[in-house]
């Protein structure tokens, strides 16, 4: 994990020296100072009382009782739609890249699962070929995460996927709400940059406060759903030991709407297309795509290796639940337990449900004795 984050931001060893105490007012003062120098994205309250992460101009906009944004923060790095470059179409071809902003982006209050989701995506986008569009934005971002003392969503299951509610790494700063004040873990040099820009005084955390965090972690354990049994599902999916009937069942249920993949913080698939501004100029753009769409793998000849819905559900499950993917991604799970697909899927084909059904109904008869 250290290897990766040294790329995105220099990691600081976690020890008691990097745990500080900040008053609640001081954090707001820090944010006020930071806003003058950096773009700050923070939770705001939507018209229905829901949470959105958005760029804010003033700390007054922050929704402190925020829950979880249905949209994952990947949108700040892998935009739903992103222009890659501009080209001329007539005569000699001229390609122009778009100017890159230098401004730092703070994602304030990002949840633990989403931090892990970005950690996974960081690995993916920096392996073999480095995705400049994603990594450039990630490099100038600072993740100030908020540990979850209580689950912000009914559907959170990060405990099963080892991605929360408290984190050991991945964040630049992690805030733990101690009631009257905050304990802050400084994870990276970028986290220090935030504190410097915030221009506030802080003290190192004492033993009592550190002990209180440990208590909160234990309390949090009680609240979180731990019954998704992801390990068992991973064994079965990796070994192709799930009954074909169950895949068929899933395939019949899925309406291929793609919501589960669009809202998943770990899903990064995109499509690329050209469009013309006028007769002379055009832009190459990428936008989110989904392995659940039938056309995703359809070749010009008409041949489609995943023409059937069940094959596409299998594909998504393989990405989320195979040991092979974990192996190439620092043992991180392909699902961070954010629970978004639980809300999104109109036919209840969310990952926790799939995990449960694989465990209960998915075993191939002859394999039952072995597992």
């Amino acid at each position: 994990m250290e290897v990766l984050h040294s790329k995105i931001g220099e990691v600081i060893k976690m020890d008691s020296k990097n745990k500080i105490i900040l008053g609640k007012k001081e954090l707001i003062t820090a944010l006020k100072n930071v806003i003058t120098k950096m773009d700050v994205v923070a939770p705001i309250k939507g018209s229905e009382g829901e949470t959105h992460f958005q760029k804010i101009e003033s700390t007054e906009e922050i929704f402190w009782e925020y829950t979880h944004d249905i949209y994952p923060p990947k949108n700040f790095f892998l935009k739903q739609e992103e222009d890659l470059f501009r080209f001329s179409v007539n005569g000699k071809i001229d390609l122009k890249e778009f100017p890159v902003s230098q401004r730092k982006i703070v994602i304030f209050g990002i949840r633990s699962c989403d931090v892990k989701g970005l950690e996974y995506s960081d690995l993916f986008f920096s392996n073999t070929y480095k995705d400049n569009y994603y990594l450039e934005k990630r490099k100038r971002s600072i993740l100030v995460s908020m540990a979850c003392v209580k689950p912000p969503f009914d559907n959170c299951f990060c405990m099963c996927t080892n991605s929360g509610p408290f984190l050991e790494s991945g964040f630049d700063l992690q805030i733990v709400d101690l009631g009257k004040k905050y304990l802050i873990n400084i994870g990276t040099k970028k986290g220090e940059d935030f504190l410097k820009a915030g221009k506030v005084k802080f003290v190192n955390a004492g033993e009592k406060e550190i002990a209180r965090v440990e208590e909160l972690k234990k309390e949090a354990d009680v609240y979180f759903e731990t019954a998704a049994y992801i390990a068992k599902a991973i064994i079965q999916v990796t070994g192709d030991k799930v009954k074909e009937e169950l895949w068929e069942d899933f395939g019949e249920a899925c309406i291929s709407c793609g919501s589960c993949t669009h809202l998943c913080p770990m899903c990064t698939c995109f499509d690329v297309y050209d469009w013309l501004e006028d007769g002379n100029y055009g832009v190459r753009t990428r936008n989110w795509d989904s392995c659940h769409y039938a056309g995703y793998t359809r070749e010009a000849s008409g041949h489609n290796p995943r023409g059937q819905s069940k094959e596409r559900v299998k594909r998504r499950c393989y990405h989320k639940l195979s040991y092979q993917y974990m192996k190439i991604n620092n043992n991180l799970h392909g699902c961070v337990g954010c629970g978004r697909c639980v809300i999104a899927c109109p036919v209840f084909l969310d990952i926790p449900t799939i995990i449960k059904r694989i465990r209960r109904e998915g075993l191939i008869e002859k394999e039952i004795d072995k597992v």
Binding site: L84, F85, L95, N132, F270, G282, Y296, T297, H319, S322
Partner: protein, 274 residues
């Protein structure tokens, strides 16, 4: 940071009409430095841009030893490939690459070589055959089998004639449907297998073609007794980025664009059937 999605500009130096729907484009990068640094290996592909229409993966069909230009052979089947066919000599297109892995060559020294191509699967194999024939002495028996739909659908007609005339190359071809002038074999490419001798102990087979052909060829080679790692095939998948990011070409945790397009049957067997 280098932009992995930004193509370089290449100029079309020549166009050869291969069949009614297939053309070979001879290309050279506009920037001589880029051309000089463009080193590829047999079996690799490039992403070809027709700006305003899109980008498609196409295998490089020329020999890696040819440094001045490089070639692609393209069948017009959809929007980008048809737009490419509209281009004329002197026009500019975008190229990203070389991408993907390559056919193993040096590892196969002193082996008997069997190459099986179908239709538009011959172009990537041409980038393998040409350098191999330059070092013909390094290999034992050299057999090329080629199958096309009709006599007109045969690409590289002049080259095929040359291969046919070569005494140190065994070359057989067939068409699915003959026309009046055709006196050669008729039938799918695996019908050629009974006309040749294959030594399963000492042969490496390379194949590229439509998925259905590849499937039959692999079955046939296995039944003859070729070991899994001596059957080398390409896999074709819908591709967008060519650099392992867009996800389209994934099979299990492998990405055909970076882990392939060349796989041995030994590798193919381990790919999960999701």
């Amino acid at each position: 940071m280098a932009n992995i999605y930004l193509p370089d500009i290449a100029v079309i130096k020549d166009i050869i009409q291969e069949t009614s729907d297939t053309k070979t484009f001879v290309l050279r990068f506009k920037n001589p430095k880029v051309q000089k640094n463009f080193r590829f290996k047999s079996g690799q592909f490039v992403e070809v841009s027709v700006f305003g229409v899109g980008e498609v993966p196409i295998g490089i069909s020329s020999s890696p030893t040819e440094k001045k230009n490089f070639e692609i052979t393209v069948r017009a089947v959809g929007s980008v490939t048809n737009a490419l066919h509209q281009k004329k000599v002197g026009d500019e297109i975008g190229i990203r690459g070389p991408l993907g892995n390559n056919f193993p060559i040096d590892e196969m020294k002193d082996k008997k070589i069997l190459i099986i191509g179908g239709g538009i699967g011959l172009p990537p194999l041409r980038s393998l055959i040409l350098p191999m024939l330059e070092k013909r002495g390094k290999f034992k028996k050299f057999t090329i089998l080629y199958g096309a739909r009709t006599p007109d659908d045969r690409v590289y007609k002049n080259l095929l004639k040359k291969w046919n005339e070569k005494r140190d190359v065994e070359f057989l071809e067939t068409v699915d449907v003959a026309d009046n002038g055709w006196t050669g074999n008729v039938g799918v490419v695996i019908t050629l297998f009974e006309k040749i001798e294959i030594d399963p102990q000492d042969t490496v087979a390379y194949t590229c073609g439509p998925p259905i052909m590849i499937e039959f060829v692999i079955q046939e080679l296995l039944s003859i007794g070729l070991p899994d790692d001596m059957i080398i095939s390409t896999l074709e998948r819908y591709m967008k980025c060519g650099v392992g990011k867009c996800g389209h070409c994934a099979i299990g945790h492998k990405y055909v664009c970076i882990d392939g397009p060349v796989f041995s049957f030994k590798d193919i067997k381990t790919l999960p059937e999701e």
